[in-house]
Point group: C2
Chain length 223, copies 2
């Protein structure tokens, strides 16, 4: 939830608060494909990813929807509705949520950090809901690229260079669509001069205004 760029939450905490908050966290290793949590698991926990990559998703019968990919430094909490799965061998620090909550009273300096992390997660969830309720797939892709560009884009003379460490399949999962649809929409964006591909992966965003305009179109009015 807190993935995809930005400062890492634990970096905002000074020592010794950081050490004090992390007391009681225990280290876990997950193999690629292993589930850390799934709906109905007996208890919630808070964890910080140290190494590897983790996917958070919702699933119902044969259908699933990826909420986010976590990177090292990201803080996340398992909750009853989500699946949390290692997509590569991973290492994390974990503590039961209840224990973290009682620790918070002892480490007052940590409270604003935790609240901010949760606030960011809520903001991310809101954007996802907005996407799903109001945008078609082209609008979601435009909003996704525009958001990534704002957080990670590097301005160059030719346009804004955007390197993504996500595959087309990953993007499709985040947007709730298929790899084929993402591919053909990206090709359309290239054809229409919105962006171009960079050798070695990534994009050059040529027309940021156009990207923003497409992300602001609602599902009904999109042609």
């Amino acid at each position: 939830m807190v993935g995809q760029g930005g400062r890492k939450p634990m970096d905002l905490l000074a020592e010794p608060e950081r050490a004090q908050l992390l007391r009681g966290f225990h280290r876990r290793r997950l193999s690629r494909g292993e589930l850390l949590s799934q709906p109905g698991a007996e208890r919630d926990s808070v964890f910080i990813l140290e190494k590897g990559r983790i996917r958070v998703f919702l699933a119902l019968e044969d259908k699933e929807h990826t909420l986010t990919f976590l990177e090292p430094g990201d803080l996340y909490s398992t909750h009853s509705d989500t699946y949390v799965q290692a997509v590569s061998d991973s290492e994390l620090l974990s503590v039961p949520t209840r224990q973290m909550l009682s620790r918070l009273s002892e480490v007052p300096a940590a409270a604003p950090v935790i609240v901010s992390v949760l606030g960011q997660a809520l903001g991310h969830a809101m954007r996802l809901i907005e996407d799903l309720a109001l945008r078609d797939v082209e609008g979601r892709l435009a909003r996704f690229l525009q958001g990534m560009q704002e957080r990670r884009g590097e301005p160059t003379a030719a346009g804004i260079r955007l390197h993504l460490d996500l595959t087309t399949e990953d993007i499709a999962r985040l947007l709730g669509t298929t790899r084929q649809t993402v591919s053909s929409l990206l090709n359309r964006f290239v054809r229409e001069g919105v962006l171009s591909r960079i050798a070695g992966g990534g994009f050059l965003i040529l027309d940021v205004d156009q990207l923003r305009a497409r992300s602001q179109r609602s599902r009904m009015s999109a042609g």
Copy 2:
């Protein structure tokens, strides 16, 4: 977000922590229809609804999606993506988010309460995302009724009595559909013996298992 039943967050705080946390909150009155916040507003705030009723929604061009209705006692925070609108004359206590965050360090006992509220809001957002991504409208309505029944249902000899202070229009807005669709689905549930209507408003849920089964069907497999 925290609406629709359950203990009210501020009731979990003992005096004098409650008073200490509320120091700096200022009272605001909103007339019916007035917006407390909209996307692009200059700053975020945290508020507690004291009287009235508030709708939180997302909008893009001519399309909108209601996230929740807030009731007195609910704690909510405005954030950049949402519209917050009084649906009846309302009164609330409000404070800038930044100020609340700095106050948290001084009132350590409040931190677990605020974190729990945010956690509940995130859980609510997850269920909405699950709804939008994975369920068709019948599944959303079944999940909604099942959830309300768990939190508010009163067991009787004939079935579980459920009183809702929401109109068919309100339910339609929460599920991202039309009043007509909600009406015809409710009629179908009545015809199929899942529930019956109670004179004076509300429902009697006759077959909870059937309701749960329908809420567990994904969009693809639902007939």
